[in-house]
Amino acid sequence: MTSQRLLTAYTWAFLLFMFGPLILMILSSFNDMSPPSITEWRGLTGKWYNFFWVDEATLRQDPVLRVLDRDRFVACFGNSLYVAGFVVPVSLLLGLAGAVLLTRWRSRANGLLWWVLLSPMLAPGIVLGLSALVFWGRLGVNAGLFTIIMAQTTFVAGYPMLILMARLQRQPVELEEAALDLGASPFRVFRRLTLPYLLPALISAGVIAFMASMENYNTTMFAKGGSCTFATEIGAMARNPNGHPPVINAVGTIIILLTVVFATAHAVLSRKEARA
């Protein structure tokens, strides 16, 4: 009985540890006080959310919001979408190629190849960012969005590869052999069998690659040069010596909300697929 109670207490402590900071962040995003606090409540407000769309005149009247550069923030967010727009398809292609190679090509070099392809995921992000900076610098390419895309792709491609490998390993090789035996070219086998089979995994891999690209900070920080992304800009705002504006809390809350919505949708969809 005691052990049961201990386990319960531990579980609650764990949940508190996980979600406590998030709850504090959400609460303070509705408090009319900067820097954010919940110990001192100055009234419910939605202005930290309104920051993104209120008109210029109202913005200038607020002592906290007027010092923030809204246009720059939006531009940096746009940069992030632009970067992800390249990183996601390129990583999916590379990950797919790697997954097919590692699951279908029987060779003694497979083990070695696996580590080589996955090593960027395990390497410190700073190293990847720095090496991209140095490599492209030598080639005369200045640090910017291009170097961010290159640096992110090196490690983001690992996620689709792992996800697609897991799915490919579950497809019996006989299916592909049967298709070949019926006269199909390897390309047709890939298009008619492998690709439709991989589609759900490709979608989840795309979502994960997108999130990895959006939230990446350390690699991007080194490769960005004078440009900025969503993550680096939030980082810059958070380093404000006078405490960060609660706008960041509002952004964080929206991200949590989106995550919950996507996770629920994913759970519902996969349950539907499992039942079908």
Partner: protein
């Protein structure tokens, strides 16, 4: 559709790890024949099938289909179609697209593909299931879809890798008849891999018995059953009583063998000589109760120890005075068997065969112990 003949000339298959799955083998399968390769698991029969279909290149020797050397020709370029043990139906395509897949690969337009697929589904009585997914069909139906899909490419040779092993007994027996019928209708050469001697005996024109990468005997079902040429073939196909000993005399095409049960006489098809180590095999249905007037040859004294009712016949296990077990099959007439006292049994010498000593097939007891 027309069947083609398949010839293996000195085909040997050694895997990269050094294991030789098939010893040098010569084998000719006639065009339009239902040919079975029968052997225990791991004997190399699937490897032969994969060699004919092109998934495995022989280490030595060559494969000819319709007289044409198949060296270097990939599976998608050979006039063969393979039915896999797990059927390998494409789960995401409806049944008709499965059947039409081979035609799709040959660039046949969609409407023609579908009508050809429906025609083939008619052949296997599944036309009304054409738009379902394979997962919605029963085991026997999936089986028939796999056959229709393989026939769609009009193969000259159809290769079947134990396709019935996943079905239950009744369905298996039904599918045997159906497969035989489809083979007769289409005239395609069937090469059928199985470890089930019942399947091989009921369906095949000819059977090859295989063990440890070697084809031990090729012949019709009757030949294999009644005139086995090796100890393995005699013990693997059907049941057989076996007695080990040494040849101690020859009499025309008969041989006398000295065993623990005494001197026994049987046919000598392999030309064994005096003093050779040998085994005598006799089928359970060849054993009969011996009357006192019967001749003394091939007479054994044994006591019935078990009577198993099989239905139309009775399986009687007897123990000889030297401790050996004998199995005897008798038509079930309802007659009582005296389990208390010694009896005299005998078998006609024409129905016994003396073969060179060699490895035997594993008994059920040995298989269960693994």
């Amino acid at each position: 559709m027309h069947g083609k003949d398949v010839r293996l000339e000195g085909v040997q298959i050694t895997y990269p790890n050094g294991f030789t799955a098939v010893q040098p083998t010569d084998l000719t399968i006639k065009a339009g024949e239902f040919f079975s390769i029968l052997g225990p698991s791991g004997c190399g029969k699937t490897t032969i099938l994969r060699t004919v279909s092109g998934f495995v290149e022989p280490t030595a020797g060559r494969v000819l289909i319709g007289g044409e050397d198949m060296r270097g020709i990939a599976p998608n370029g050979r006039p063969t179609a393979l039915i896999f043990q797990n059927l390998a139906l494409f789960p995401l395509m409806p049944v008709w697209e499965n059947v039409a897949f081979g035609l799709e690969s040959r660039g046949v337009p969609k409407a023609a593909r579908r009508s050809k697929a429906l025609e083939l589904l008619d052949l296997v009585a599944l036309r009304d299931q054409a738009d379902k997914k394979p997962g919605e069909l029963s085991g026997g139906q999936r089986q028939r879809v796999a056959i229709a899909r393989a026939l769609a490419v009009e193969p000259a040779v159809l290769l079947l890798d134990e396709p019935l092993s996943a079905l239950d007994l009744k369905l298996r027996q039904h599918m045997r008849a159906e497969l035989r019928e489809i083979q007769r209708k289409t005239g395609v050469t069937f090469i059928y891999i199985t470890h089930d001697q019942g399947e091989a005996l009921t369906m095949s024109d000819r059977i090859a018995v295989m063990n440890n990468g070697v084809i031990e005997q090729v012949g019709t079902g009757d030949e294999i059953y009644s005139e086995p040429r090796t100890a393995f073939a005699a013990s693997f196909v059907g049941e057989a009583n076996q007695m080990q000993g040494r040849v101690c005399g020859l009499d025309g095409d008969m041989a006398v063998i000295e065993t623990a049960q005494g001197r026994l006489l049987g046919r000598n098809p392999c030309g064994l000589k005096d003093g050779d180590e040998a085994m005598l095999f006799v089928r359970p249905e060849a054993l009969v109760w011996a009357s006192s007037r019967a001749p003394d040859t091939n007479r054994l004294i044994a006591r019935p120890v078990r009577r198993d009712l099989e239905g139309s016949f009775v399986n009687i296990v007897l123990r000889t005075n030297t401790g050996a077990n004998l199995t005897m099959h008798q038509v079930n007439t309802g007659a009582e068997i005296d389990m208390e006292s010694d009896a005299s049994v005998r078998f006609p010498c024409e129905q016994a065969v003396v073969l060179p000593k060699g490895p035997l097939a594993q008994t059920g007891q040995e298989l269960a112990a693994q």
